[in-house]
């Protein structure tokens, strides 16, 4: 069972591990963005199990995005995706068999083999 992550005020949040935060800062720097960036996380239909994680580095949040600050990195998330991602931890799996960024999502009742797709 994946643990759900809560903010200090007791609400479900999106958590970023230190390793994932470090990798995100590296990617942002490569894209020419220093401290002023956020990671946009989202969900769209598709993938083996029905829903697919999306991840991108953005300069600023979208108009209706929720903004969460975690481990020094801003997370931008649209409200519809938040319903599927509340309580999720974003980690980074490195090494030869590493999967890159990995979502540990407590809402997922099933996850496909590669970990990029989930169902609720």
């Amino acid at each position: 069972m994946t643990t759900a992550y809560y903010a200090e005020d007791g609400t479900l949040t999106i958590s970023i591990t230190e390793k994932a935060a470090k990798m995100l800062r590296n990617f942002a720097r490569k894209e020419g963005l220093d401290d002023e960036f956020g990671v946009k996380v989202g969900v769209k239909g598709g993938g083996c199990s029905g829903l697919l994680y999306t991840l991108s580095i953005e300069k600023e949040a979208g108009l209706n995005d929720k903004v969460i600050d975690n481990n020094g990195v801003k997370v931008f998330i649209d409200k519809k995706s938040y319903i599927f991602l509340a309580g999720t931890e974003l980690d980074f799996s490195d090494g030869l068999n590493g999967k890159g960024f990995v979502f540990q999502n407590p809402n997922a009742t099933k996850t496909c083999g590669c970990g990029n797709s989930f169902g609720v």
Partner: protein, 360 residues
């Protein structure tokens, strides 16, 4: 309860149709001469009211991208005028519906199974989170006429003022027939030419009369079912559904094995890689004395190996032919299988279904 009627009910009734209930619709079963209808479809030109097939209009920038992520075939790059069959599958790789995706330029049109349009819309809606898409059921507000037979492209093409003979599979074009605007799509039944015209419901009688007016023979559901079963094509009523996966149904040509993930892909890819497809859709001939109907079980060496799903009588010969799913050990062409509850009678496998070819 009487079934739904298509916008062409009155026009087909005037043509002498006798009606029957099928998939929730009250449809022309025949026009009185099955042999003439069958010959017209095979050798000349025949028209069939296929308005019972579901039609869904999709608009928005992400329609093709979303369908590409949700279904088996690669549809994201379809240009205006192009189309492709694709299968909506569950996350367990089971068939929800076999649909055709058409890029009509200003919007996308989905052709679904009968009574499936709402289910398809709801399924897509379930997986629409942030995409710019809108889907509208246009089954009732439009009508569809299939012109079947080798002379169909010339006849329909001259009415519409376009060259249909060179159309690729699933190619479509905007047309006007007798002033009624719509589109024509080429959706052959395997080796048998079929062009389908879709217009607004209120124009459909006029278009139907135009087609009938140049001597095209109307055919009912009985003959269209014979044409389908003869070619081992799965029907929405008997061979498509959550009991089957697309590989069992032989829908290889509607699956992309290289485009990446879609719902159910993991299961379908594994079935392919490890050759774990356990049963196949096949066509049958039967022993002359067999009393056969859909649902009859088939056995080999005392063990149940399958079931008949469709049975039709060929008008020219009076022979019964059918479709059914059988386990792989009994699915080779030429295999003779016993009817489980009728000693001495048999079904013989004539062909394995490959509706859209072997794929690749």
């Amino acid at each position: 309860m009487a079934g739904r009627r298509t916008p062409l009910y009155n026009a087909t009734a005037r043509q002498g149709a006798s009606f029957g209930d099928w998939a929730g619709w009250e449809l022309p079963a025949s026009y009185g001469d099955l042999l003439a209808e069958y010959k017209a479809a095979c050798d000349g030109d025949a028209d069939h009211d296929s308005s019972y097939m579901g039609r869904v209009k999709g608009t928005g920038e992400d329609v093709l991208d979303l369908l590409h992520r949700l279904s088996t075939n690669a549809v994201v790059s379809l240009e205006a005028g192009q189309g492709a069959p694709t299968v909506l599958t569950t996350d367990r790789g089971r068939i929800l519906d076999l649909i055709t995706v058409l890029n009509l330029g200003d919007h996308i049109q989905l052709l679904t199974g009968p009574q499936a349009s709402q289910d398809v819309i709801e399924w897509i809606d379930k997986y629409t989170i942030v995409d710019d898409v809108e889907f509208e059921d246009v089954t009732s507000s439009t009508a569809m006429v299939s012109v079947i037979g080798p002379k169909g492209p010339d006849i329909l093409g001259s009415l519409a003022g376009i060259e249909l003979g060179t159309f690729a599979p699933h190619q479509s074009a905007r047309v006007a027939i007798a002033g009624a605007e719509g589109y024509i799509v080429r959706r052959d039944l395997a080796d048998l030419t079929r062009c389908e015209v879709v217009v607004k419901s209120h124009d459909s009688e006029m278009v139907w009369q135009e087609i009938i007016g140049v001597g095209v023979t109307p055919v009912g559901l009985e003959v269209s079912e014979v044409l389908r079963v003869e070619r081992a094509l799965p029907g929405h009523d008997g061979e498509l559904g959550e009991s089957y996966n697309p590989l069992e149904t032989g829908l290889w040509g509607s699956i992309s094995f290289t485009k990446g993930c879609y719902i159910g892909q993991e299961v379908i890819a594994r079935l392919d890689t490890y050759q774990k497809v356990q049963k196949h859709l096949v066509s049958f001939s039967f022993s002359p004395d067999a009393r056969i109907e859909a649902g009859i079980k088939l056995a080999k060496e005392g063990r149940e190996v399958g079931q008949v799903t469709s049975v039709v009588k060929v008008p020219t010969t009076g022979e019964l032919i059918g479709l059914g799913y059988v386990r792989k050990e009994a699915a080779e062409v030429g295999t003779q299988i016993s009817l489980a509850e009728e000693a001495g009678s048999w079904a013989k496998v004539e062909a394995q279904a490959l509706p859209f070819g072997p794929g690749g």
